[in-house]
């Protein structure tokens, strides 16, 4: 029997970095769950990623051409298959678009308890789990309790420190399972990927984000210039994404990304709770907004009450002057 099965998501051949946060959760939970840690690597070309996970636990691979694209039903079928074969007590999946969907489909199909979006999690004395998670967009923190397992756990991104990569010393060859899904009712085409200019907001140490106050796509060029000066990335609120000014990959918040850069600069962003949940763990938050009563100032370390059209060009020039 397997104790914990971690879903290692592979995106375009690369192991997604969320994996290391899941390892931290798995190691903490393995103190009370017997059976050890196993890893599920699902995709089409996953050898390199599978090797990276070696040293964490036993690696189980389902490699199949039908798993080349992030096709939710197929990936979930692979995870459901592995979960059937390995009978884990706990499956831990990343809260990515694909990972969260695989977790939901597994939990619903097997009627396992889904413990999702948790920022804390612990085993209870009676053999259950207890965790804390945001609800209502982050306005409220709920303590939730699940009875006996199996459980599907989806930790909140950035809530757990990433574990160190294994040395690979104890690595053994991955165990291969052939993909045997039931008839699949949906079909997909190859994704259209839109390359993100510069570094992605997940990885940047500085993120400068624009919102509804920018009133159009053009001002994002100014934010891009500032991001380039400080080696950062450009982010956005949902208003900017839904208005079509920038691509979805830039969205910070409840249904966007959860980030925790060293510095987050919010320009023309009101600070709605659903936005703040994606950036409130940033070390330093700066807000530029012409409305002194905007909620963003309530979470900011530094604030400028003013029009970004006046403030931000001077800000850029001051930084450019220092680098020149």
């Amino acid at each position: 029997m397997t104790g914990i099965l971690i879903v290692a998501e592979v995106d375009a051949g690369e192991l997604r970095p969320e994996f290391w946060e899941l390892v931290t959760v798995a190691r903490a939970m393995s103190a009370t769950l017997s059976g050890g840690i196993s890893i599920a690597v699902i995709g089409a070309k996953v050898d390199a990623a599978a090797r990276q996970t070696a040293g964490i636990g036993e690696v189980h691979v389902i490699e199949d051409d039908r798993l080349a694209d992030p096709w939710p039903e197929a990936h979930a079928a692979a995870l459901i298959q592995l979960s059937g074969e390995l009978a884990p007590q706990m499956v831990i999946a990343p809260r990515t678009i694909l990972g969260a969907e695989m977790a939901a489909r597994l939990a619903v199909r097997c009627r396992w308890q889904l413990v999702q979006d948790v920022t804390q999690i612990e085993a209870t004395a009676d053999g259950g789990l207890q965790g804390v998670r945001p609800v209502s967009g982050g306005a409220v923190a709920a303590t939730i309790r699940a009875g006996a397992g199996p459980w599907v756990v989806v930790p909140r991104p950035r809530a757990f420190a990433p574990a160190e990569a294994g040395t690979g010393a104890e690595s053994i060859a991955p165990l291969r399972h052939s993909f045997a899904p039931p008839a699949l009712a949906t079909a997909c085409e190859t994704p259209k990927r839109i390359a993100v200019e510069g570094i992605s907001i997940d990885r940047a140490k500085t993120v400068i984000a624009g919102g509804g106050g920018l009133c159009g796509p053009e001002p994002f060029t100014l934010l891009r210039e500032i991001a380039d000066l400080v080696g950062g990335a450009v982010g956005a609120s949902r208003v900017a994404v839904d208005s079509g000014w920038v691509q979805s990959a830039l969205q910070v918040g409840l249904t966007g990304k959860t980030i925790a850069p060293d510095l987050y600069i919010a320009v023309g962003i009101s600070g709605a709770i659903q936005h703040l949940i994606g950036c409130s763990s940033s070390q330093v938050i700066v807000a530029v907004n012409n409305d002194a009563s905007a909620p963003i100032f309530g979470v900011a370390n530094y604030g400028v009450v003013g029009d970004w059209k006046e403030v931000m060009p001077a800000f850029r020039d001051a930084l450019a002057g220092r680098t020149a």
């Binding site: 308890q113 209502s136 259209k192 309530g298 001051a318």
Partner: protein
Amino acid sequence: MRVVVCLKQVIDPLTPASTLALDRNEKKIRAGVTAPPVINGFDEQGLEAALRLRETNKDIEIICLAAGERFSNDVMKRSLAVGADQLILVQDPSLDTWDPYPIAAALAAAIRQIGGADLVICGRQGSDWDNALTPYILADLVELPLLTLAKSVTVADGKRVEIERVLADGSMRMNAQLPALVTVTSELGALRMPTVSARLAATRKQPRQFALAELGTAVVPGHAPEVVDLAIPVTGRSCTFIDAADGPSAGVRLAETLLQAGAIRLGGER
């Protein structure tokens, strides 16, 4: 072709956290001030998707379906005002719950009661509990293929539904044979405004009421964790406001302040 759009009545998600009232005994979140509830935003976008479908496929019947403890007729009838043909409300005290299983079971039973649907559309998640699970359970209960996170929905020759699914770095086209269930995301766009005449006409239409008992849903045993406590998290920081004569000097001073504090390192350490 019949399209069922699932709607949930929720607390307005823009209600400031400071005015929310937590019922820590019942484990419920209530709008402390008497702010009117709203239709969950993503569900409204699901209705917008259905209305767009009807622009190109005239013979589409749109039925809005909601399950909850009680409803504000004014709020829910907005769906009729923008063009839904029918509104069905399944009402029961047990449906004021964080657990998505009973809600999905009620929706499934109502869909069966009306003789099924060719396409069911749900919002990606409810803004009250953010579980994003009801569509998965509903698809499982009514045994429909599930396509999620659509920013556009089209139906080809009345047989297949096609969506454009939002990804973290782009999008992907997906399709399934009808009948199917689709969830939509905010990139799809906001629900249209009702015309004045449609709004007036809607005031005369009445929702159909279903009691849970008459649908004969079997009680679904709990598969979801339970909420044991609720709290408002403390998130405040103390903000240092940059004082300056005008905007440009504030910009310069902000740059200096951040450089001095070590928050900005020029030259870009990535």
